[in-house]
Symmetry: C2
């Protein structure tokens, strides 16, 4: 009995919403009685395969379920991604080809393996059941849900009130996500708190299909490095799960002090006691830098090997704690391999490639705001052609130091 | 040129809404240039195959187009009728079997022949294209329409404001009706004014499918015999196209004086000059009864042979203008053929059968309100068992006089 209570308390750790309140206990008891695995669902939008620490908050909870022997099912939203948003109002939703969906899903799955055991995970594509759904079944499905219910979703009601167009098919998407739960007979659907509405839709549709409604567990949305909004690739405020150790360490060190507690809770794998002790040290007035280093090291250890964390720590000291830029370590970049057969390159393109594909609009803003230097001279014209010569030193933003070789 | 103007003025006669305003002229000119027939659409809901004079207002306009050589296309809403309204809130929309749809369509078509030339009419079923529509096409279709646009339909906005549930699939139906117009490349969609919203949906979808948008022509909704609401079978205030001549004549005579002008315009086939002359006679103070007789006779002549109109006129005089009920003509009803092998029958059932299947709930109310007499004795218990004896006289409401024989 003590064991079950410990299990429940672990699963509830960091969880922000459980619906219904006792839904987790009920599902665990039921699975125990029936001697079966719980089916734990996570939906994945294949338009955005790059995972960051915000996604990891949910994935770590999945990992806990997996370690308890339950069945994780990743539902790839291949149907909706292939349809896209034909209104074209939201560029992020332009339709993907079947090949792009497959490629994104592969990228996603390989990144998943940084947190959960992919071998034990079931991956399904919702186009399997949605592509061939007869229209009459679709009408039956839509008849189960009222317009008023759908309009309760915050973004819908807001847009409706502001006369911002909502296309009819957008209103259908949450119903389809709910139908995915019916198809896999889901016990628990996981998501960020922004998925609460869509996940409860699954409960309603399961009930109308004669299934016990799933429990919904929502994890908090990790704030981005800028501390203002949630971590999101489009806001350029992420730590990616595939970031290099030095990059990961440096980004973690850049969080404002106000985020320290949240990062301790949501990004580290310290035990609850260790987490509490770290927070206490802050409250006792210790220099926040010390605690951030422990967080940054912990993060790097989770996604890379332990030596990488130590190395990143030393690299950070050499670059940032020693304030003299002349002595900073510049990463050597081979002209021949990164810029083969090129003599000159325009500044935006140069920074874009050196920063591992950082978006060109972001790089352009950085240049215009004086954030890029070549041989210590600030360059503000994004279109300037730069000669690719050995030995020139390029500084991009706070954490990018490169020397051509 | 004079001929075209006369044609347009005939087509505009009685028409309440033409959208866009010059849409009729444009379509006629276009068809003339391209030397082709216009495609004139009328949607038919196969749940309600019994046609009345209200429907005839639209059908007569179709007939005018047909006589000008254009192509009438009746779209039977077989898809939606077979799906029905699974929420069950509206009993009228319970799903029909394929057999019921076929049967109702046949009934409808045979009644259509009372107004238009069915041989020259194209009848299509929208399940032909909707049954097999892939889900991805449905999503594309729904993406063309905004929720706000659909919520403009009066009944939707009213229900939404009153928190009366609207199921999602209900919101999809107008889009499907619009898609029917795309499928048949409709030039002009006809309907009652209550169909304006659904018909304009067709314009929008045709445009988004690269077709010239249809013109919408809406005919006024004929008031029912009670003059309060539109003529509708569920309100028991109709003159059916298949009503017997005496019934038809008597019902037409029962309209209140305030409806005379409207009935002259919308139910008779008098010429515009004749119509104007009739209205003038009313304004000059002539007894409205005289004009109603001309209307009633004209209606009977349209749907039965001319002698039937004369006979109905005489029958009406014998029954209603002679106010002594004892001298009224009672229609002889053979016990053996209408009630074979029965000795007694309950009162509701008796009236239901004598009145050609008039709804039992209507008959029950009539009895309870003192509208039924047997041998001049008012009977108010709908469940009373009546002995079926030759010679008994049964009076049902104002126009039902029967004598068992």
């Amino acid at each position: 009995m003590l064991k079950i209570q410990k299990m429940i308390s672990t699963l509830k750790e960091n969880t922000e919403i459980i619906l219904p309140e006792n839904g987790l206990e009920e599902k665990l008891v039921q699975a125990g009685k029936e001697n079966r695995k719980l089916i734990i669902k996570l939906g994945f939008d294949p338009t955005a395969p790059d995972l960051h620490l915000g996604h990891a908050v949910v994935l770590k909870k999945l990992k806990q379920f997996q370690e308890l022997g339950h069945q994780i099912v990743i539902v790839v939203g291949s149907f909706t991604a292939r349809i896209g948003d034909p209104t074209g109002k939201n560029k992020a939703r332009k339709p993907l080809t079947a090949g792009e969906v497959r490629h994104n899903a592969e990228t996603y799955i390989s990144q998943l393996s940084k947190v959960i055991d992919v071998e034990k995970t079931k991956i399904v594509f919702n186009s399997e059941w949605l592509d061939s759904l007869p229209f009459s079944d679709i009408i039956q499905l839509m008849s189960k849900v009222t317009v008023a219910r759908l309009m309760h979703r915050k973004d819908f009601s807001k847009r409706f009130a502001e006369n911002t167009p909502i296309a009819m098919h957008e209103l259908m998407y949450p119903v389809l996500q709910g139908f995915d739960s019916v198809q896999i007979s889901c016990d628990i659907e996981m998501g960020g708190t922004d998925q609460l509405f869509n996940c409860t839709m699954g409960r309603q549709l399961q009930e109308s299909h004669g299934q016990p409604p799933q429990t919904v567990m929502c994890m908090p949305l990790l704030k981005g490095l800028d501390s203002r909004e949630k971590m999101s690739k489009s806001l350029n405020n992420t730590i990616g799960l595939t970031d290099e150790p030095n990059e990961m360490f440096g980004k973690a060190m850049s969080i404002p002090d106000s985020l320290i507690d949240e990062f301790i809770d949501l990004t580290t794998d310290f035990s609850p006691d260790e987490k509490e002790a770290l927070k206490q040290r802050i409250r006792n007035g210790e220099n926040p830098m010390n605690i951030k280093k422990l967080i940054a090291g912990n993060i790097v250890r989770q996604y890379h090997h332990p030596e990488a964390a130590e190395h990143a720590d030393r690299f950070f000291i050499s670059q940032f704690q020693n304030k003299n830029p002349q002595e900073q370590a510049f990463e050597a970049v081979s002209i021949d391999s990164v810029f083969p057969a090129q003599r000159t390159i325009n500044l935006v393109e140069l920074c874009h490639r050196l920063k591992n594909g950082e978006s060109k609009s972001f790089v352009r803003r950085l240049i215009e705001n004086g954030g890029v230097k070549i041989n210590r001279v600030t360059k503000t014209d994004p279109q300037e052609e730069i000669e690719l010569q050995q030995g020139i030193k390029i500084r991009i933003g706070k954490r990018g130091f490169f020397e051509l070789s």
